[in-house]
Amino acid sequence: MLSLGEKAYCAALLALKKKEYLQAFENFEKAAPYFANNKEFTLYHDTTKLLVEVKRKLGTLSEDDKIEIEEIFTHG
């Protein structure tokens, strides 16, 4: 049986392969308690975390990526 940590690490690497960085990060987070002392794991985890943050920031800064939200209130 693979441990939950191993499964999550595997899923994270597969997500990296598909360039699905948010999914990779979420799986790294799940695996983190199992690989706390593994420097290689920590490097990949932290790099992915940073990349996700950068992408979030870019999404916020880029005018094209802005999403206009309009709230509609119904009366009665």
Binding site: M1, L13, L14, Y44, V54
Partner: protein
């Protein structure tokens, strides 16, 4: 450079690094994914799901592992362990369907290949007696093997101690190598250095803990 341009540059750099990681780990990742999928099939068997198609597809995709001999012993052991468990769970007998019997024969084929590629070495000793043991002559093979290992570990130590100021730095790096590369030489050498440090009054508990973790990873043969 604007903030956006800086972030885009950083984004590109991080993506390139992670692409490189995936490229370097491609082979290991494929094996790990295959083992993971087999593990999932094992879990499906436990829950009573019919896995005939899933395991058939798994064999079709991974049979080349046996012919290519790409697997390490630890990986092969894990796979055959999982396959044996699946075979036990689906309870194949004379009345089973053709598909189930085919699965059974495929599992047997894997197990027989495993025995062929990774023979189990059994160490035996004669029964204990009250009469004095005869004097054993040294076995030249074990000695030469040990000498070879020692010389490899010396080379490894020289490699890792280069440009370091303290043996603890060397030990840290060796433990890292033992964990990430599942290197047996690094593992044995780390244990040797830890014992040496202990004899010289160093506090070695954190390193012993790391050694045990590295040993666990080595036994699993993963990552």
């Amino acid at each position: 450079m604007s903030q956006t341009a800086s972030l885009q540059s950083l984004e590109s750099l991080l993506e390139t690094f992670l692409d490189r990681v995936v490229f370097l780990k491609e082979k290991k990742l494929n094996v790990l994914d295959g083992i993971n999928r087999l593990d999932d099939i094992g879990a499906m068997v436990n829950s009573g799901t019919d896995v005939t198609d899933d395991i058939g597809n798994w064999f079709a995709e991974h049979n080349k592992w046996l012919s290519d001999r790409t697997l390490k012993d630890t990986e092969l052991n894990r796979i055959t362990g999982m396959l044996s468990k699946i075979k036990r769970e689906i309870k194949i007998d004379a009345d089973s369907s053709m598909a189930h019997q085919k699965i059974s024969s495929e599992i047997d084929r894997w197990n027989s290949k495993k025995e062929h590629t990774a023979p189990i070495i059994k160490l035996k000793r004669p029964p204990e007696t009250v009469t004095p043991e005869p004097v054993l002559t040294p076995n030249s093979d074990t000695i030469s093997l040990f000498v070879k290992r020692l010389s490899k570990m010396t080379a490894l130590f020289m490699d890792y101690s280069n440009s370091k100021n303290h043996i603890l730095s060397v030990l840290e790096d060796l433990l890292q190598k033992a964990s990430t590369e599942t290197s047996k030489d690094a593992l044995i050498l780390s244990a040797f250095i830890i014992y040496y440090l202990k004899q010289n009054g160093y506090k070695v508990e954190p390193y012993v803990r790391k050694l045990k973790e590295a040993e666990t990873l080595y036994k699993k043969g993963m990552f």
